[in-house]
Subunit: 208 residues, 2 copies
């Protein structure tokens, strides 16, 4: 990474232009993934839920065993995940989700979701797991909780469409209010709309 | 691997000595891990459950980007898993387990279980997940389903003990009958003893 000189007055000016309510993890230079990991750590530390990010799947080709030191992988490649990135348990319920970020302001590119991930989500729903995607629009500083069924429907019906409109996400999903801690309180949505009495409140494709 | 000449008459004699009921995956040269993966594939293909092995956690140090080819990891190391190896969903329930194999005939070495894995299991139970270990005694060709609480209890009470006696496993756990397909039908145990009415039948430490 190139270290450009840091113009402090510019940074300050930019910060001052942002409305106060938009102060969230993004302002603190935290990536969406880091914010979710911090949220999961918060849930874990407070015995609220046990949800982990799965390790990146890697195909190992060659391992060296240097004398007196641990095994060293010297040739390996990234593999495409066949499931979602996050899974765990909340009050007995199986939780399964994927998190995606875009700088676009009106849509989420569908290239973020692979066919086998969509298939995995469908199988999880079939087993009555709670499955969804967390979609972060970094330019808007907005995050949405979209039930997996809405993503699957869009994928199947509009297969040729290259991106999912924010309007669709707003209609089928739920806006997540960003907090200081936990940063991305997605369990609130599950508690209020999936496990509470309001499950069918929204025009949700989760109906079975 | 060294390829020793293969004495067919010896192999045959050995096989003939084994009682018929012991014919299982081990006789077909399948490792316990492979048998569990095949079981999970069977459950997945038949829409019975969605349970996957997590990828091995790896610490990536250096990645090369050769021209016109995919990213190549050239320095990486194995990391100790902080959770269990297998997790997923069965009829809405969160399933979480670890699988271990030993050639010993009377006990399972406790070095197979790390402190943070034990801690993870305790947290999963706290969240009402279904958590257990599958223990395979390859010399005996026997496999047991041990509820996580029994492992945690043994770990906490007999912290200094280097191995968990098979007698303890038999008392607190469940024998799994090996099949052709699925090879290690552990969901039968869950269905019969955890989700059915027989949950408290056994002198089980799962009582809450």
């Amino acid at each position: 990474m190139v270290n450009y000189p840091h113009p402090h007055h510019l940074t300050r000016k930019k910060k001052a232009e942002q409305p106060a309510k938009k102060v969230n993890f993004a302002n603190r230079g935290m990536s969406f993934e880091a914010a979710i990991n911090a949220t999961n750590n918060y849930y874990l530390a407070h015995s609220i839920a046990v949800i982990h990010k799965k390790p990146t799947p890697i195909q190992i080709v060659k391992v060296d065993y240097p004398m007196r030191s641990r095994a060293k992988i010297v040739e390996a490649y990234f593999r495409q995940p066949s499931t979602t990135d996050y899974s765990g348990v909340y009050r007995g319920h199986y939780i399964d989700f994927e998190a995606k970020e875009t700088r676009l302001k009106t849509a989420m590119p569908m290239k973020n979701f692979h066919a086998h991930q969509i298939e995995h989500m469908a199988k999880v729903l079939e087993q009555q797991g709670i499955c969804f995607v967390l979609l972060h629009f970094s330019s808007l500083k907005e995050t949405y909780f979209l039930p997996a069924q809405a993503l699957i429907d869009f994928y199947q019906i509009d297969r040729g469409t290259k991106s999912m409109p924010l309007d669709y996400i707003k209609k089928k999903g739920y806006w997540i209010e960003m907090n200081a801690l936990p940063q991305v309180p997605y369990l609130d949505i599950i508690e209020n709309y999936f496990l509470g009495g309001d499950y069918y409140q929204k025009d949700s494709v989760q109906k079975k």
